[in-house]
């Protein structure tokens, strides 16, 4: 099996599995952190240790982090929590049309609440047009939502420039950043990044599903989204899960422990594939300066889904946003917004890598593509 679909999800690493198993089999760690007895104290202490460890990796304070069930929940909490709290300060939100659905659907909800969403266009490389952004910023804007690394193309956001523009035009605007695809793959220094809120997901970095994280900068107030017993400083109620927190922490630590070697491997794979695919008349849709972990490529003469199933025949797993059917054709809105034509976008496949992929796999991939062209090209 060759798994080139690591932006969809990843396989949990042994370190995570071991931690989870130990935690679940422990005689004491099953306790409820809210309990007043000894077990509660032990678990609370362990739970707080996870925050400490994560905060040190992400360079923030531990009280700026909240565990959630997934990045989608983090996005919902951050966006809706912020705008409902700050609605008196303005009613405009700025974003791009190439955000993940977790953001776009939440912004639709915000529209129902009376907010106005203004979209910045993106260029051929998937980056927001900064002059347009500058024009859109006014006193009425309270929030800007962006993605650090686009999940379909690997396009990296020019965050520093955006923060500078914000600081110049209206310092009061909060920035929410989706860091699902960048965590573990780019250095994250929340103290330096100058953003107010952010979301992370564990299962994209070899942890388990059900592990999300929300960052809210100290001093930024937002309304809680999930109400109840007031856990996690009243920001996210619900009994805390130590085992999930541990699973996230271990995966995050491992990701940064292997950061350099991982980059090297993935860079080599990406470079090789780009070179070989271009020779085969494939069009690389990811920008040249994209994160190496994501490679979006359009195969001439193969609709996305056909290529996906062809590769599946060879035990290679990739993904596609575009899907074909005899009546309707769904084409990736991200690619279309980048100005890529429908046909090219309709033939696009996303390859996404992890540090566990190898050059051997990349070579097998190319050999399989050659065979697929021979057997199935129309």
């Amino acid at each position: 099996m060759i798994y080139f679909d690591n932006s969809a999800t990843t396989k949990p690493i042994p370190e995570v599995i071991e931690t989870v198993c130990n935690s679940l089999s422990s005689d004491t760690l099953f306790g409820n952190p809210g309990s007043l007895h000894e077990l509660g104290t032990i678990v609370t202490k362990e739970y707080n240790n996870q925050f400490k460890a994560i905060a040190s990796v992400l360079h923030c304070y531990e009280n700026e982090l909240y565990f959630t069930s997934c990045a989608t929940e983090s996005a919902n909490t951050a966006i809706l929590g912020y705008i409902t709290r700050h609605k008196r300060e303005g009613n405009i939100i700025i974003s791009t049309r190439t955000e993940h659905k977790a953001t776009l659907e939440t912004l639709k909800k915000a529209e129902e609440f009376g907010f106005i969403i203004k979209f910045v266009d993106v260029d051929r490389n998937g980056k927001p047009k900064l002059d347009m952004l500058e024009e859109l910023i006014s006193d009425e804007v309270i929030l800007m939502c962006f993605t650090h690394v686009n999940n379909e193309t690997g396009s990296i956001l020019p965050l520093d420039e955006i923060v500078n523009i914000r600081n110049k035009k209206n310092r009061k605007i909060a920035i929410y950043l989706d860091m699902v695809q960048s965590v573990g793959k780019l250095a994250i220094d929340l103290k330096k990044m100058n953003i107010e809120m952010g979301s992370f997901s564990g299962h994209k970095i070899h942890s388990v599903k059900g592990t999300g994280l929300l960052y809210v900068k100290a001093g930024v107030s937002i309304n809680p989204y999930i109400l109840g017993g007031g856990q996690q400083n009243n920001m996210r109620s619900g009994t805390q899960s130590l085992v999930l927190a541990e699973a996230f922490r271990v995966a995050l630590e491992e990701a940064y422990k292997h950061f350099d070697e991982s980059h090297e491997t993935v860079h080599e794979i990406n470079k090789f594939l780009r070179e070989e695919l271009v020779k085969r008349e494939a069009v690389i849709l990811s920008p040249d300066d994209a994160l190496d972990y994501v490679l979006n490529v359009s195969f001439k003469g193969f609709e996305s889904e056909t290529m996906l199933h062809c590769l599946e025949k060879y035990g290679i797993y990739v993904s596609t946003i575009s899907a074909c059917s005899s009546k309707t054709k769904k084409v990736s809105y991200v690619l279309l917004d980048m100005g890529i034509d429908r046909k090219t976008a309709g033939n696009s496949i996303r390859l996404s890598f992890s540090r566990f992929n190898t050059m051997e796999e990349a070579k097998t991939f190319i050999a399989s593509v050659d065979e697929i062209y021979k057997l199935f090209a129309l």
Binding site: E303, E305, T306, L308, H309, C310, E312, K313, A323, C324, S325, S326, K327, T328, K329, K330, F376, L378
Partner: protein, 399 residues
Amino acid sequence: MGSNVILARMGEVTLKGLNRGVFENKLMSNLKYRLKGFGKLSIFQSQSRLWIEPKDENNEYFESEAKAMDLLNACTQVFGIVSVSFASKFEGGFDEIVKESIACVENYINNHPEHKTFKVESKRGDKSFPMTSMELSGEVGYEILEHFPQLSVDVKNPDFVLSVEVREFNYVYAGKIMGHRGLPVGTAGKGMLLLSGGIDSPVAGYMMASRGMQLDAVYFHSYPYTSDRAKDKVIDLAKIVSRFSGRMNLYVVDFTQIQLDMYKNSRQDMLTVTMRRVMFQIAEELAKKSGCGCLITGESLGQVASQTLEAINITNEVVELPVFRPLIGLDKEATCDLSRKIGAFETSILPYEDCCTVFVAKHPKTHPKHKDIEEAESKLDIKQMVFDGVNKNLEIIEI
């Protein structure tokens, strides 16, 4: 819940003459087959109706309303049954009849609070009962009015009818659920349904089954151009049709190579018609092998390019067996309604299609002539294609 027996009424079957027994026996065996999995049941015929009773005292399907509905719905899906009712069966005289009638009406109006008028219909098999049927109806009606002041009697057009039957046992029941009528499956031979993942073909299968036809089905799979999810969807649709038509074999033809050949060596504007001609011939071979006497398709006149009169003629002439097209005169909306009625619609509209856009011509010929098809097929070895379709990688799935 006091109800402990189901009675099912037969329709068209009872109008049959000398061979009525054949139809009734088939209906009975179909019902028994359909009700497998609902616990041990005793199913028998009496007074031109079918009666279904649990053999064990604690059959869960007679204990809760929701479970009972599953059982009743299963009964209504057996072709030949016009309607079904849940009834209470009990012993005793007039007092017991009143007691059970009140319980029955109470249950009924809980489920149908909008129903305000009723009438009582009585039948006596046991003529020694000390009241006439008319008297019994009147007295039971009186008691019900006393007990449910919100109800009133309307003998001409009641919202519901309470039926009371006095035989060896007494029976009371209110309301009925309509069945799908038709003739028992298996009384009209067997047909081969060309099943795709769309809306039409499952409905076509349902319609032929409603005339007593048993079904097998054939599906043409073009992996990797179509996903295995599309195949799973067709299997799901076959299962939905088989709720009505009984056991069926689904033949999955590996169509990839045939379709590729055709795409490369045929005329683009004739692709669909050429493809359908090959599909028909493969389906006919499979039909003959499995004892089917006809093909069944979901074609509707003029719906798409391959369903014009000319295209249908050209497709039709490659096969000897008759091709039944029960939807030929229906518009799409009517077909969708039927699809919803049989519970297939939600599955049919799932996005996994049977035929990828890559194999569909942009401008198909809507009025093909013989010389068009001759030219389109001139470079194809149709015989070999049909042979491959029937023999290479054929998968047979028992539904």
